[in-house]
Amino acid sequence: MIKLTTTSRRILQCLLALCFSSCSGIQNSINPAGPQADSLSRLWWLMFIVCSIVFVLVMVALLLALRKRTPHSDVTPVLEPPADQERRKRNVVISAVTITVIILFVFLIASFSAGRSMTAELANKNGLSIELNGHQWWWEVKYQDVDASNIFTTANEIHIPVGVPVTFSLRAADVIHSFWVPNLSGKKDLIPGKINTIWLQADKPGVYRGQCAEYCGLQHAKMALWVVAEPQEQFNAWRQNQTQTSMPPLSDSQKRGQQVFLSSTCVMCHAVNGTPAGSNIGPNLTHVASRNMIGAATMTNTREHLAQWIRDSQSVKPGNRMPQHNFNEADLQSLLDYLQNLK
Amino acid sequence: MSTRTIIDVSELPHHEFDTYDPVWWGNNFLLAIETSMFAILIATYFYLRQNFTLWPPPVAQLTDTLRPLPELGYGTANTILLVLSCIPMVLTDRAARRGDRHFSQIGLVIAIACGVAALVLRSFEYAAVYFRWDSNAYGSVVWFLLGMHMLHLLVLTTECVLVAIWIFTREFDMKHRVDIVTVALYWYWVVGIWLLIYAIVYFTPRFG
């Protein structure tokens, strides 16, 4: 009987938790914000409810089987149980198996149709196309366009217009990563030497967090990104800005900051369009100030965090590829001025 | 007083050929393991082939041929040798079954000679493959195929040597007659697998 309570406890806990979870979260697969995630969560709920019922039924059957106790004195083994009883059991078992098969068929159909809905109708629409390149441990985002002047590169923050299907072609620079924004769709792997494709579409504006879902080494845990879904015109404005070259330094401090940037380690890995800095080993910083997060969505993009990141990113994200820098205070401040000006 | 029947097995033999002997079964299942290993290895060969437009990959500095196909000479010689080596093995097998010590001694010696010769030929076969194991995936998988089979040749020959030493120096007892039959089986298997590998390594690049 204790078993019954534990079982029911689990069911209850499960239901509660799921109901709760399904109404919040910027990185949540059952809080869909796009057609794919939506059909997925519907598939999930179907399977979850059916499976819960099956589970409860089997448990009840088990408990009913256990209710009959016999005195321990009676231990003579039963080798020939009553035939009619056995026949009844056989029928029950057979029908149970049949029901299982039917349920599996339903699941199979449901899963196929869901899979179809995820790819089919988006595949032939033409929308935005983005090339996503996974690095240890950050995301390089290249916006493709027929018009060469609209092609630009950013990192760790993907802006997409609401209601427009976005095609991602996924590549990896080093090891296997996996691109996953639960609120929008399932995950796809980024595999060296291969090109993988996934379609996304956001129906509600909002910010959705994604994270690398294939173990990729030391900082797998802190390889995240943000997808910002915004109305078309807002998106256009953003893209307009991104295609520009970097803001020229205005104040003296910013000018010095640029000098520091160009004559120290920064320039070896980072690119700032419109300056000699053109390396693409680290994230492209042309519009770094316009981003919400730094360090692959590890910290919010504030001056303090930026300073901490430049000085000693290893304390925040041990093992990441950004070395420590011990600029003196003045240089650091002017560097920060410069970077924060890169809107 | 209650009595019970006795099944008296004291007359039963200690060893018998084929399915009677657990050793026979043990040996066959080891062969089954190795067979599935080779099956997967061959699958790998064809899987990797998909990544190449030309197989084996062309080499710029080769002028006479576009594709450095593995040269047939040594491989073919080895194949012929191995196939022929089955004849003494079959005879040894028969001899062991009917308990002809002298004959099986001769047979084993010939077999060992064939084994050694095959090993020597094999060491030339690697050179017949244009690529080294560290040149590209093609080289790697071909070397691995040849190497794995060579390993079996080596084990097989050693096993023959051991059995031979025994029946030359010690008694020609049932136990070791069973061993000879088992070794013979292993021999047929090694040859059979080689025919497959030979066809795949040397001819699939040529036809198709």
Partner: protein, 177 residues
């Protein structure tokens, strides 16, 4: 007897792996010096601080491997190619113009050398220079075998560092070209 053998095996392992597997991502800020960024690439003969002969990265497989990554990343391969040399002198042979010791290579990278080797002072932090030094020495097999990098995931230019036999360094005063 089994246990004794085991003990020996353990000891061997320990000797090998005490330094080899160390992955040190950050020095305490005190360890690296604060400097004023000079605004030009010309450094009138200010000698760089000499590194101790013993380069800690020489013991660490991770560092040697990082060095290998940085070697292509910082485009050392642009001149030295995969060590075979081209615009710059080859690094995988036994001939050393400015010395084969870690501190020589360190100052070669930091100070630069005549005939085209630029100075990377301020451009590459010490820790990474050390990793590069370790890798450069591994190209001619100067490090322990179990520390040197194995093959990379790119086109197969030459056999991996861990399979290159150790070359005995010879000094050469001849200018590269």
């Amino acid at each position: 007897m089994f246990s004794r053998l085991l003990l020996c095996a353990l000891l061997c392992l320990f000797v090998g792996s005490c330094k080899r597997e160390q992955r040190q991502f950050s020095q305490p800020p005190s360890a690296f010096k604060s400097y004023d960024v000079t605004m030009s690439d010309i450094h009138p003969g200010t000698p760089g601080t000499q590194q101790p002969t013993q380069n800690p990265s020489d013991q660490r497989a991770f560092d040697a491997n990082e060095g290998k990554r940085l070697f292509t990343q910082y485009n050392c391969s642009g001149c030295h190619f995969n060590g075979g040399g081209g615009i710059g002198p080859p690094l995988m042979d036994a001939i050393w113009i400015y010395g084969d010791q870690p501190e020589n290579i360190y100052s070669t990278i930091v100070e630069g050398r005549p005939n085209g080797m630029p100075s990377f002072r301020q451009k590459i932090p010490d820790s990474q220079v050390q990793q590069l030094v370790a890798y450069v020495r591994s190209m001619s097999g100067q490090l322990r075998k179990d520390v040197m990098p194995s093959r990379n995931d790119t086109m197969n230019a030459r056999r991996s560092e861990q399979r290159t036999e150790r070359k005995t360094p010879q000094q050469s005063t001849a200018p590269p070209y």
